[in-house]
C-alpha cells in the first residue's frame, strides 16, 4: 500500500459570516488548498466533504457548483466534531485502497452563537440536570478533580496558554491574551468552566489535497508534502457511566493506541499536538488520554509549561478551539492544517522548532448519542 501525503492544505480565518452560504465557505478553503498544491479541481479524482449542520444539504456537490462541476464522486460526511477529520480519513482510505491517486477533503461549518446541546421535544433542562455542552465537559473535569485533585486554576491555565498562542496565529478568530485572573473571574458557565474556558462557536472551513506517493513524485511535489503516518477513527467503546455522562476518554484512548501502533511510534516521539480543547477541562483529560503524561499528572503537566510553545510538547499552538474557534465540521482539517504548517517550517512566530512528528485529535458526540474520535499522525518529509 502506498504512503499517503498531504500536498496542499489551508483554511480560512475563522470568524462569523452570516451572509455567506456553507458551500461558499467550503469553496474558499478548497481553492486555497488547491492553490497551495498548485493544482486545480480538474486534477481531483474525488471529493470528501464534511459538514454537520446541513448534513442532508449535499454541501459537496453545491461546493463544486461554485468551483467547477467535473462530475467526480462526492461523499458527504457527518460525524459530530470528528466530521472534518472523518472526511480527510475517507480520502486517505481511498488512496490507501488504490482507488484514487489525488483527492480533495473539505470541512466546513456555519454556526449560530450561543450554547450547544438541547434537542427536540419537551426539554429536561434544569429538571433532570443539564444537557448543555459546558455542563457535560464540566462533569468530565470534575471527574479528574475527584480522582486527582485537579484545581480550577489548573483548568483555567489551559485557556491562558491557548489564548496566548492565538496571538501568534493570523487565522484565529480571537487573538487576545487572557491572564489567569481574567479567565477565572470571567462569567461562570458551568463550574469549573468559565466563559473564557469554553470554545468559540464560529464559521469556518479548511481543506486538504491528498496524494499517493506515485502521484507526489510524478507532480514533483515532494518538497511541500507531509506524510500521513497514521489515520485512526474510533467510536465509543462501552463505558461504565455512559448513559449518565457521555464518555470521550475511552474513544480517545482507543484511537490513540491504534494510531501510535500504526505509526510505529510512542507519545514521546511527538513534537506537537492539536487536540480537542472544546472546553479547558477537556484538554486536561486528553493529555492523559493521548499519553502525553501519566494518568493523574495532567495538572502537573499544564503547570510545568511543557505544553506551551517552547515546551517539551506544545499543545494547541494554533490557539485551539478555545481561541481559534470551533466550526464543528471544519475543526478536524484545520488541526491538520496547523500541524502540517509546522512540519513544513512555515508557522512563523508560533513555529515549533524542529517539528518532525505531529498529532491531531478531534472527538465529539453528545448525551445519548455516543462519540466519534479521529487521530492523525503527520510526519515531515
Amino acid at each position: 500500500m502506498s504512503d499517503v501525503y498531504i500536498v496542499g492544505v489551508d483554511m480560512i480565518r475563522f470568524g462569523r459570516f452570516p451572509d455567506r452560504t456553507v458551500p461558499n465557505l467550503a469553496a474558499e478553503a478548497a481553492l486555497l488548498a488547491l492553490d497551495d498544491a498548485g493544482l486545480t479541481i480538474k486534477d481531483m479524482q474525488a471529493l470528501f466533504c464534511g459538514n454537520l449542520g446541513q448534513a442532508r444539504g449535499m454541501i459537496g456537490q453545491r461546493m463544486l457548483a461554485e468551483i467547477g462541476q467535473t462530475g467526480i464522486p462526492v461523499t458527504n460526511v457527518a460525524n459530530a466534531c470528528a466530521t472534518g477529520a472523518t472526511a480527510f480519513r475517507d480520502g486517505w482510505m481511498s488512496i490507501k485502497a488504490g482507488v484514487y491517486d489525488l483527492v480533495l477533503a473539505v470541512g466546513v461549518e456555519q454556526m449560530g452563537k450561543g450554547l450547544l446541546g438541547g434537542g427536540e421535544g419537551v426539554s429536561t433542562e434544569g429538571v433532570i440536570g443539564s444537557g448543555t455542552m459546558p455542563a457535560m465537559f464540566s462533569h468530565i473535569g470534575m471527574e479528574h478533580t475527584r480522582m486527582y485533585g485537579t484545581t480550577f486554576a489548573q483548568f483555567a491555565r489551559v485557556s491562558v496558554k491557548n489564548h496566548w498562542h492565538s496571538t501568534m496565529n493570523p487565522k484565529s478568530m480571537y487573538r487576545k491574551e487572557t491572564p489567569l485572573q481574567e479567565v477565572m473571574a470571567a462569567e461562570m458557565i458551568a463550574y469549573p468552566n468559565t466563559k473564557l474556558m469554553c470554545s468559540v462557536n464560529v464559521d469556518g472551513s479548511a481543506a486538504a489535497v491528498l496524494a499517493s506517493e506515485k502521484k507526489v513524485k510524478q507532480l514533483g511535489l515532494m518538497d511541500r508534502a507531509v506524510r500521513v503516518r497514521a489515520s485512526e477513527l474510533s467510536s465509543n467503546p462501552f463505558a461504565e457511566r455512559q448513559l449518565a455522562m457521555p464518555d470521550f476518554s475511552a474513544a480517545t484512548r482507543l484511537a490513540a493506541k491504534n494510531a501510535y501502533e500504526q505509526a510505529g511510534i510512542g507519545p514521546q516521539d511527538i513534537n506537537l499536538v492539536e487536540l480537542h480543547d472544546c472546553f479547558a477541562t477537556a484538554e486536561i483529560v486528553h493529555y492523559e488520554n493521548l499519553g502525553l503524561c501519566a494518568d493523574g499528572d495532567a495538572g502537573k503537566l499544564i503547570d510545568s509549561g511543557d505544553t506551551q510553545l517552547g515546551g517539551r510538547v506544545p499543545v494547541n499552538v494554533s490557539g485551539g478551539l478555545l481561541s481559534k474557534g470551533h466550526p464543528l465540521g471544519a475543526t478536524g482539517i484545520a488541526n491538520i492544517y496547523e500541524v502540517s504548517t509546522h512540519l513544513r517550517g512555515a508557522a512563523g512566530e508560533r513555529q515549533v522548532e524542529g517539528a518532525r512528528l505531529g498529532l491531531t485529535h478531534v472527538v465529539g458526540g453528545g448525551p445519548g448519542m455516543g462519540s466519534a474520535c479521529a487521530i492523525h499522525v503527520l510526519e515531515k518529509v
Binding site: 434544569g126 433532570i128 458551568a190 449518565a244
Partner: protein
C-alpha cells in the same frame, strides 16, 4: 414538592408508576450483571441478547460528580446542580441535586443522596406539568 398526582405524563420514558407511587425502571444483564437505566433487550456492555431482566432502580446512592450550571437555555432557572449519581444497585443516573447550596464549597463527592419525585413544568412544555425525579441529600 413531593406532590405527585396520577395522570401527569412522565418526563422520561423510564419513569413509571405503580399505582400512585413513581419508580425508575431499569434493566439488569443476567450475563454480566450491569444495571442500565431504562428498558433494553441487548446488553451494550457484553452484547448478550435476551438476558435483560426488568428491575426497579435503587432510590439511594452517592454523588459521583456534579457541576453548578450558571448559564442554560433561555427560560431555565439557574443556578442548579447537575449531578451524576452512582445508585446503590450499580446503575448511574443523571439528575438535578436540590437541598444543597449551588456552590462547590458546599458539595462533597460521595455524599449520600436519595431519589425524590415531583411534578415540574419544563420550559417549553406550554405550562403543562410532567412527572419527574430529582436528588436530595439523604
Amino acid at each position: 414538592m413531593g406532590d405527585v398526582s396520577g395522570g401527569v405524563p412522565p418526563i422520561v420514558p423510564f419513569l413509571h408508576r405503580d399505582g400512585a407511587k413513581p419508580y425508575l425502571g431499569g434493566s439488569r444483564c443476567e450475563a454480566c450483571g450491569h444495571v442500565f437505566v431504562g428498558e433494553r433487550s441487548v446488553c451494550a456492555k457484553c452484547a448478550a441478547r435476551d438476558k435483560m431482566k426488568a428491575v426497579r432502580l435503587a432510590e439511594t446512592g452517592k454523588l459521583y460528580v456534579y457541576t453548578v450550571v450558571k448559564r442554560s437555555f433561555p427560560g431555565v432557572a439557574v443556578p442548579f446542580v447537575d449531578a451524576i449519581v452512582d445508585l446503590d444497585d450499580g446503575s448511574h443516573l443523571k439528575g438535578t441535586l436540590e437541598g444543597v447550596e449551588p456552590d462547590p464549597d458546599h458539595i462533597k463527592f460521595n455524599m449520600r443522596v436519595k431519589v425524590a419525585y415531583r411534578e415540574a413544568q419544563p420550559v417549553n412544555s406550554g405550562g403543562k406539568p410532567y412527572l419527574t425525579y430529582y436528588f436530595v441529600p439523604a
